[in-house]
Amino acid sequence: MTETAMTELPKIETPKIEMQNVRKSFGAKHVLRGVDLTINRSESMVIIGGSGTGKSVLLKCIIGLITPDTGDIFVDGENTAGKRGKERELLLDKFGMLFQGGALFDSLLVWENVAFRLLHGARKLPRGEARAIAIAKLRRVGLKEDSADLFPAELSGGMQKRVGLARAIAAEPEIIFFDEPTTGLDPIMADVINDLIREIVVEMGVTAMTITHDMTSVRKIADRVAMIHDGLIHWCGPVAEIDSTDNPYIHQFVNGLADGPIEAVR
């Protein structure tokens, strides 16, 4: 009992994800120019910022789809740089990701998409078992069992998002990334997805990181908000403070103003 408590103690202090001075350029274009960001355990962090400010690159750097030029990224206190093969797979096992367009595999059935990790990964299960879990996860995101045997192309945009969400949570990850979860959805469906995300994050106790420019999403999902502009984090704080802060970037973005420090091309 005491032993468990002792081993758990330092874990509480370590942030789930920590980025230190992360920089990334594509040719002459400097997308990230020294990002420092800390995300605590079981916290829902939302990154806001205009299009093309480096939000997606930031997310992809953490998950290892893009290698940063300099800087360090720690997950559970472990540096993610240079991890390859099995080590990298173990790291990736901690993550689930909902892609902007769903990124469902169109050659596979809906349930095979959801159960992909359970059908292929290190924690491979028999097909029947994997299917049962997939159907349970589909139900959790509000889809009926009969959608399990359809192909993703046969589903509407909102349903594809739900399947993407089910796939992201299927293998019980510790960290979930949401890449613009409400983009392309009607306001009602967007609200349903926001609610679902919030419920799942709370229910599973996961660490969540969402990138969006939809302020309704921010208010629904976030515990803390970070504002990225021009490859730098300009403000980071609790969601309750986004309306009261005097940070000009946040003020302009939250209120959707054309005039302010963020240049808008007319």
Binding site: L92, F105, R117, H120
Partner: protein, 264 residues
């Protein structure tokens, strides 16, 4: 002064082309080595390999069969016309057989499959790249090189020799049909001559060539699709590049393989 700038632009363009060529060769080689190494390292995806064998091999059979049938027929007519100039019409069966098995079966079959399969692989992987499906694979702890590239490389390298073998049979049959209906050959004599003159080496050399062509076809489709640019235009360009580069590499490697297999 203007002359100097023209010279400058000219030399710069040569330099840029050479650099591009070196870069492409390098990235293609490292892609090939990586893809090939994943063929031999677990985990394997047997269901995926089987699916690709069906797609690349079985469904290419009609295209390869048709190509071989008509080529065999035309070959018989041409050799007859050529042979009759020095009263050697009787060489038709043996030359048709050698021509089909050593050269035309694998090369024309390879080119047809390049058009069909390279394009479809490039378009599929390109679309997967554009719609972030390849990134999604990585986040699901699955190496895309292993799951997408390795099964296609393996399936194409296995399927092409088999396709070439069937192409040989159908091509020789095409020559045979033209021989007995249009050129007044005796059916039994035609088959016997073919059988007597054809050596196992003719067929196996063609199949070795076909295996290399199969690898090239899948390789170029995967490489172009995997590194596809953004949007519909990017996928379109990847598809075109895959077919063109696979076809040229097939013809170039055919010459090298012929030199190696049948030294003068």
């Amino acid at each position: 002064m203007p002359i100097l700038s023209v010279v400058h632009t000219f030399t710069a363009s040569i330099g840029a082309t050479v650099l591009w060529l070196c870069q492409t060769t390098g990235s293609l080689s490292s892609f090939a080595v990586s893809g090939l190494s994943h063929v031999f390292r677990p985990p394997y995806y047997p269901a995926e390999i089987l699916r690709q064998l069906m797609r690349i091999g079985f469904f290419s059979l009609p295209v390869v069969g048709m190509t071989a049938l008509f080529t065999g027929g035309a070959l018989a007519l041409q050799i007859y016309a050529g042979g009759s100039r020095f009263n050697a019409e009787s060489v038709v069966p043996s030359i048709v057989a050698i021509g089909m098995t050593r050269e035309l079966g694998p090369v024309l079959g390879g080119l047809m499959v390049a058009g069909r399969v390279s394009a479809s692989i490039a378009a599929e992987l390109g679309t997967m790249r554009v719609t972030e499906q390849i990134d999604a694979l990585t986040t699901l702890s699955t190496n895309p090189m292993k799951y997408l590239v390795a099964p296609r490389l393996l399936a194409a390298t296995i399927a092409m020799p088999i396709l070439a073998f069937f192409g040989d049979i159908i091509g020789i049959m095409g020559g045979f049909l033209v021989g007995i209906t249009r050129l007044d050959f005796n059916a039994t004599t035609y088959i016997k001559t073919t059988y007597d003159f054809l050596e196992a080496g003719d067929v196996t050399s063609g199949m070795i060539k076909a295996a290399v062509f199969g690898f090239i076809i899948a390789m170029m489709g995967c490489y172009q699709g995997y590194n596809s640019g953004r949007g519909a235009q990017g996928v379109g360009r990847a598809t075109t590049n895959a077919v063109v580069s696979a076809s040229i590499l097939i013809l170039a490697s055919n010459y090298i393989l012929t030199e190696a297999l049948f030294p003068a």
